[in-house]
């Protein structure tokens, strides 16, 4: 029997328009055999969580380069909790200072990938986490 494909939502929360990273990751994950949905720009945390639930994804990838991650990432996690979603892996990327990472992990983000990350490391991380 063929293994079920891992489903990933790549999302751009907030107003940030830098989508090079999000699009490159989306394509790399797709090339690695995953099913990838990309939201496009300017998604509210509510929209992202709604799409994630509707599309029944295993992984949410959030990308922000504007510095709004300290507000928007925890907001997504809060909404997931409110909707009783506990089995989704959430990863984040973008311009995120090292010192913000512990706080983001505390609210439930599984991993933060900063600039310079090899897409193969992200693929490996997802494949290990989604079992």
């Amino acid at each position: 029997m063929r293994e079920k494909k891992i489903r990933v939502l790549i999302a751009k929360p907030g107003l940030d328009g830098h989508d090079r990273g999000a699009k490159v990751i989306a394509r790399a994950l797709r090339d690695a055999g995953m099913e990838v949905i990309y939201t496009g720009l300017r998604q509210t945390p509510e929209q992202i969580v709604e799409t994630a639930i509707q599309e029944d994804v295993n992984v949410i990838g959030l990308s922000i380069l504007s510095g709004a991650h300290t507000y928007l990432f925890p907001k997504v996690m809060e909404l997931l909790k409110e909707n009783n979603v506990e089995d989704m892996i959430v990863i984040g990327g973008g311009v995120i200072p090292e010192e913000d990472i512990p706080e983001l992990k505390k609210v439930g983000i599984d991993e933060i990938f900063t600039p310079g990350t090899d897409t193969r490391d992200i693929i490996k991380f997802i494949k290990e986490k989604v079992k």
């Binding site: 830098h18 989508d19 510095g67 600039p115």
Partner: protein, 559 residues
Amino acid sequence: MFNKDEIKKIKQSKEEWENNALKKTLERFPERKEKFVTGSGKEVARLYTPDNLEEFDYNKELNFPGEFPYTRGVQPTMYRGRLWTMRQYAGFGTAEESNKRYKYLLKQGQTGLSVAFDLPTQIGYDSDHPMSLGEVGKVGVAIDSLKDMETLFDGIPLDKVSTSMTINAPATILLAMYIAVAEKQGVSPDRLKGTIQNDVLKEYIARGTYIFPPTPSMRLITNIFEFCFKEMPQWNTISISGYHIREAGATAVQEAAFTLADGIAYVEAAIKIGLNVDDFSPRLSFFFNAYNDLLEEVAKFRAVRRLWARIMKERFGAKNKKSLMLRFHTQTAGCTLTAQQPDNNIVRVTIQALAAALGGTQSLHTNSRDEALALPAEDSVRIALRTQQVIAYESGVTETIDPLAGSYYVETLTNEIEKQALEYIEKIDKLGGAPRAIEKGFIQQEIQNSAYKYQKEIEEGKRIVVGVNEFQIKEEPPKGLLKVDPEVERCQLEKLRELKKTRDNQKAKANLDALERTAQTETNLMPYILDCVKSYVTLGEICNVLRSVFGEYKESVKL
């Protein structure tokens, strides 16, 4: 540049060299790679000689500085007359904080201002809009109304400095606010010098701060062209930007091609509403990226200058010399900065800035070493500015004009970039012009393909990024990064509440209503927007009215 006999002789001796000395060396010491490429992946030959420029006509391809086709520069004396404007893009938090940073930069010898607005301002939301949550004051200064703009430029004489504003979809509004602040300082619009980015096509392509659909967006842009032609003869009405296109992953050729294709679309739009090409074209300006491949970037700057001059002359029949000149701002490539060993970024920025100077830029922003980590701290910004000053005053490249001209490699590369960019422009013409090509996703997909290829090359080790996939070290997390005070948001909300209580709300409403009515006609909106901002109508209120008339743009993404 060479006569036929000479070329023949050079070809013969080149063949001889290849068959003897070179062959022997290659047999004993093979080259490092099979294929050598530029930063953009263009194949590079081992050696360039006069036979690469066999048909080269000096007067036709280069001519003299300040003369068509302006390959060697737009002014007859270039940096011997005046250095480029050193213009660091800055702004964060509140207008008060940004005002302090501007005064600091001016004191450090910066020669022009460049305002960074936060994302809510750029997308036409007031700080109290739900979409603004978490974004207020983050990537730039928060401006909700003329009040904030008055604070931003407090104590800065607007008749003395030139100001560049990175604002696109709401460019009419911020320009109106700038005019209003100047008026309060007793400076009339015709004395104002500066630039608004005002380039919405590249927002759809790469940068993302669009609001309205293409047709009304093009109207707002041409409204500015028309208004400034009459009222602000020293103002650059648009900065047609390849910078963000390149940041999104485009190659040098794609950056050149897509930027000029956007430029063509703006010129066509302005002609379509009845403007004379030689009335508005002299105030068009451009904005390019400077990457690490020094010589490819220099060639790119020279190629776009020549190609634009030819387009303006041949395609649009422009006669005014100023219409033919491509004047540009440069920013060093943000996406080449690494979070790893951030001090190495100072060296990258130096090479990139040098490319801009050798390419004849009119103004320059140098990135700070810590920008892959956070907003730049003050000492990082100072080093970035000092980098420009060292190039300007110590490197010697400013003492003669276009010093790389005549290099077999640089001239060949300049020719190739021009040719390949033109081929792209022809393709875009066939698709119906830049706006149609964007709608079809053609431009975006070309860029995405390049971005993906670049990333793959790094991961496969075909491309070395120092400190990232080679020469790594164990590092401590960096200290002293700039953080925007979370109080900014609260402070902006407070100011907004106060403003709406104290302004003449009847007058504000009347001006907004007039704007709404006029938006439904084809009349130029600038005077109505000016009335609105002067009566302290907020940016968000103006954009809401325009959204209700124009609708909003929805991107269609293809991966």
